[in-house]
């Protein structure tokens, strides 16, 4: 059997050789790795016909740090802090994915206090991630102001988290068997104050961007992906939910305290950029609902049940569990040989899978549409490259 292995050069050349039906000449243009709207170091090779995108070839690896390979040499507790550096906007949820897999595999019990704290901080983080996503979408659409409004409100959440956790971005908070610190005495009060502050601000967000007819024109019926394609493309999170698939792990396979709180899954109807945008807005509302239900009755108990210095091994076998982060399903797959370090660790990251759907949505649109699609996917590049 002989399998042909291609190269990027060959790919672009063969792509250009496909005869186009238009009379104009098609050309390639490099979008990234340094481009304002690729949100980091994503490189897209675009085949354009004038302004119309014919093909998108993503080129990855500009920020690959071999987290999986490093994980093979790290203890399970050390892996947790590596996950901060994947999707840095849902760092706590990434920590939780590892902690949950390890807890499930090593049969570590947690108490309700731990799960409540985890749920609350994760939802706070989801809100701030979506705030940033909202602002960045505005910026990509040419409105710079929302970006700073989003950052302003996000800053307050990072302040609240900083007071409890001691870090603003790379949290390393959720540990196997608990959380690293107990919540700060001011935490509950500040979260409540924040929710009271942010609710009117969210309506303001809507007035500023959602209500703007220009933005609606830019997002509606752009980058449409139906449910079948979205599932086949492996999209998860808001991207999949916008295509009218209510696949939200918080509802489908409840973990933490999600089984005990009331909230609704935000879905879209057509699967276009507008739906993806609005699903995030609606998720902020639902996250606030979740926090409101939990914040007043965090049960008493210990916050860390397993000593951080104690040996932590996982029984031999294959272990997988997944978490709904702000961008989709983060799965952590461990192949263990019963040692302190995994034999193989694999992260099923949401952005890596969501990015692929770009290649299905972008062709046929304009360059401006492509920018809209990228920002509606809300990509975090280090999560793609790991």
């Amino acid at each position: 059997m002989n399998v042909h292995v291609s190269t990027l050069d060959e790919k672009t050349r063969s792509s250009l050789a496909i005869e186009s039906h238009s009379e104009t000449e098609e050309y390639f243009i490099n979008m990234g790795p340094q481009h304002p709207s690729t949100h980091g170091v994503l490189r897209l090779i675009l085949k354009l016909d004038g302004e119309t995108v014919r093909e998108v070839i993503p080129v990855l690896g500009y920020i690959h740090r071999s987290i999986e390979k490093i994980s093979e040499y790290s203890t399970y507790r050390q892996i947790v802090h590596l996950t901060d550096r994947m999707d840095y906007l849902s760092a706590i949820m990434n920590n939780w994915a590892v902690a949950r897999t390890v807890e499930k595999a090593a049969e570590i019990e947690t108490n309700e206090r731990i799960e409540s704290i985890r749920t609350i901080v994760s939802e706070l983080e989801r809100i701030h991630s979506h705030q940033l996503g909202w602002g960045v979408l505005g910026m990509d659409m040419g409105a710079f102001t929302p970006f700073l409004y989003g950052f302003r409100d996000r800053e307050m959440i990072t302040d609240i988290l900083e007071e409890t956790i001691g870090a603003r971005l790379t949290m390393n908070y959720i540990q196997p068997g608990g959380v690293m610190f107990d919540i700060h005495p001011d935490f509950v009060r500040k979260v409540k104050e924040y929710l009271a502050y942010f609710k009117p601000k969210l309506d303001e967000y809507e007035d500023l961007l959602s209500g703007n007819p220009i933005l609606q024109q830019r997002l509606r019926n752009v980058g449409i992906m139906d449910a079948e394609t979205a599932l086949s493309m492996g999209a998860t999170g808001p991207v999949l939910r916008a295509s009218r698939v209510p696949y939200d792990l918080r509802k489908i396979e409840p973990y933490g305290m999600y089984g005990e709180v009331e909230f609704r899954v935000a879905i879209g109807t057509a699967g276009d950029c507008w739906d993806r945008y609005y699903v995030r807005i609606e998720e902020m509302r639902q996250s606030m609902r979740i926090i409101e239900q939990l914040i007043d009755n965090i049960p008493e108990g210990k916050f860390l049940l397993k000593k951080p210095a104690a040996k932590l091994t996982i029984p031999e076998g294959r272990h997988y569990s997944q978490i709904e982060t702000a961008r989709g399903v983060l799965g952590f797959y461990i192949v263990s040989e019963g040692k302190e370090t995994p034999y193989r660790a694999y992260f099923r990251t949401p952005n890596f899978h969501n990015l692929w759907s770009l290649t299905a949505m972008a062709p046929g649109g304009r360059v401006g549409d492509l920018v809209a699609i990228i920002s509606s996917l809300d990509l975090v590049i280090p999560d793609i490259d790991r």
Partner: protein
């Protein structure tokens, strides 16, 4: 579906597929590479199973046993069923059929596995490295991979 029932049903579809005895936390089946593609096709298209999401595809390098263990984790939105499919390939000349035509995300995942493990996918429309440069030597996630910049474990 209970896992026993699931295994029986899958066995009725493809006789070569058998429940895995390897320790695993999800219903797991193993299939030899030559029956792999037809099994996957049926898993996707069979109206009772309808696994329409390929959630995870990755490989594990069992260097001592001389095999690659390929993992396909499927999910069905029809009845929220998960299934793990394991395929073992020899480390020398690891070739397997591509499932790109069944799940489009496989195109992406298979390129990653090729990039890091060197598993070749037959029928993949655009098999090339995903993260690394085209002229990279070797496959870094293999356990016996070495290059000049690597630190010894523990250093």
């Amino acid at each position: 579906m209970e896992s026993e029932e699931l295994f029986q049903y899958i066995a009725s579809l493809e006789a070569a597929a058998r429940p895995s005895e390897k320790p695993s936390d999800l219903p797991t089946i193993e299939v030899p590479p030559e029956h792999f593609l037809s099994l996957m096709q049926q898993l996707r298209e069979d109206p009772r199973l309808y696994f329409n999401m390929l959630q995870v595809h990755t490989a594990v390098d069992w260097v001592k046993k001389g095999i690659f263990e390929l993992l396909y984790q499927l999910y069905s939105t029809k009845d929220r069923q998960s299934l793990r499919v394991l395929v073992e390939l020899p480390r020398e000349n690891p070739v397997i059929a591509s499932v790109c035509s069944i799940w489009r995300i496989a195109e992406w995942q298979e390129r990653e596995v090729y990039d890091f493990f060197g598993v070749l996918y037959e029928g993949h429309p655009d098999l090339r490295r995903l993260f690394l440069e085209d002229d990279w030597k070797g496959f870094p996630m293999r356990k016996d991979y070495e290059d000049d910049f690597m630190l010894e474990p523990g250093q």
